[in-house]
């Protein structure tokens, strides 16, 4: 029941959260208050919005992640057939790792892995 199962688990999550939120929307007693719907930041009035441009450090790591995650996608099929292909697969993956390692070394030397 694999493909049906996917739908089932999707629906399960939907039901659990949906019921909980609908229940909490209708059942609990509500109260009104002037400052209740304000953003919570230390109690003093909030200064400006939070939808701002963000530290570039996070994006660098996201880009690094992208490279290595695509590499992981390439590695999974290799890992499955490694036992059958033996030496050929091993040498190929060594070459792959050397190139990848050079890339990592480059990022390292360029200080891309350093948090600012």
């Amino acid at each position: 029941m694999n493909s049906e199962g996917l739908i089932l688990f999707f629906l399960l999550g939907l039901t659990l959260v949906g019921f909980a939120i609908v229940f909490s929307y209708f059942i609990p007693r509500k109260s009104e208050n002037l400052q209740k719907y304000e953003t919570y930041e230390c109690g003093i009035p909030t200064y400006g919005l939070s939808w701002i441009q963000f530290n570039v450090g996070y994006y660098l790591f996201a880009i690094m992640f992208l490279i290595f995650d695509v590499e992981a996608v390439f590695l999974f099929p290799w890992a499955v057939v490694m036992k059958e292909l033996k030496m050929v697969a091993f040498i190929e993956i060594l070459i792959f790792f050397v190139i990848l390692g050079l890339g990592l070394m480059y990022a390292w030397k360029k200080q891309a892995l350093k948090w600012e």
Binding site: G5, G13, I21, T46, D69, V80, W115
Partner: protein, 360 residues
Amino acid sequence: MFLYDFSELTSSIHNSISSVMSPLATTVVEMVIAGIVFLLFYALVGLILVYAERKICAFFQCRLGPMRVGKWGLMQTIADFIKLLMKELIMIKNADKLLFNLAPFIVIIASFLAIGAIPFAKGLHALDFDIGVLYVMAVSSIGVLGILLAGWSSNNKYSLIGAMRSGAQVVSYELSVGLSLMTIVVLAGTMQFSEIVEAQNTGWFIFKGHIPALIAFVIFIISSTAETNRGPFDLAEAESELTAGFHTEYSGIKFALFFLGEYMNMFIVASIAATVFLGGWMPLHIVGLDSFNMIMDYIPPFIWFISKTAIIIFIMMWIKWTFPRLRIDQLLTLEWKYLLPINLVNITLMALCVLNQWHF
């Protein structure tokens, strides 16, 4: 050879239902049954884990923990759950309404999709894909989208910083999770969970793969702790600096759902570790000791699975309550400068072991 084979039970249920109904109705009825079972299991695991965390944390800190509600505080989590359910949901004025409401759905659905692929026992296995390992990695990384959305849509600086940290952390450590699982895939030669478990009939992979498997196991424990945003990697919700991180603005049951999602993710990574490294529901077998193996076979596979998972969860809680929280630069240094290169070397080592038949 196994005394407790659930596939016979499930197939007999399937036969009895399909004998009285059409194929479509059979599928629907089976899905409803499976759905109810999984929903109950999910809720039960959530309640038990929250209670266990509070108790274990208390014992590590020489306290007693919850003691008032029920015997040894056993009813505490249920009382908390009812309390949270009866709380009003607050919708922040400046928040992005749609994304704010969408975030808990994504977190919970991701954990449900992942929990379906876990083999609890022989035949007790809802989603058995031939790309099982890849599937679990894929769906468990959807959860971070929920965290990012929650942080962004709250329009709160604490939430935004928490979500950004969480994003950087989860995507970084996901690499290590994937590569350490890949080390075992090289040894097993398959990504299907049922086959991975069957292959550990003669010995768990952590013993079979000796040194590289052990390194991969340690890396997996570290990086999965980080991936589930648990201490000492809980920068996303570092309460001393970020209030509650990405779920600062969430109240009542929505907060509880994030909390539940976090605990379920912990259960999922622990059970993946148990399945891939510690043999899943396979009993402990030692080659040559036939009587010992016979006795071990009498313990039901479900008990084996749950106890292995429980041990790994205990180790993760132990780590959480023992180590101080890392700084974000230390966190990223640990991943990119230590775990990732070690992992790449480790995969090569494992490939060498498989090539030369150094495993047993």
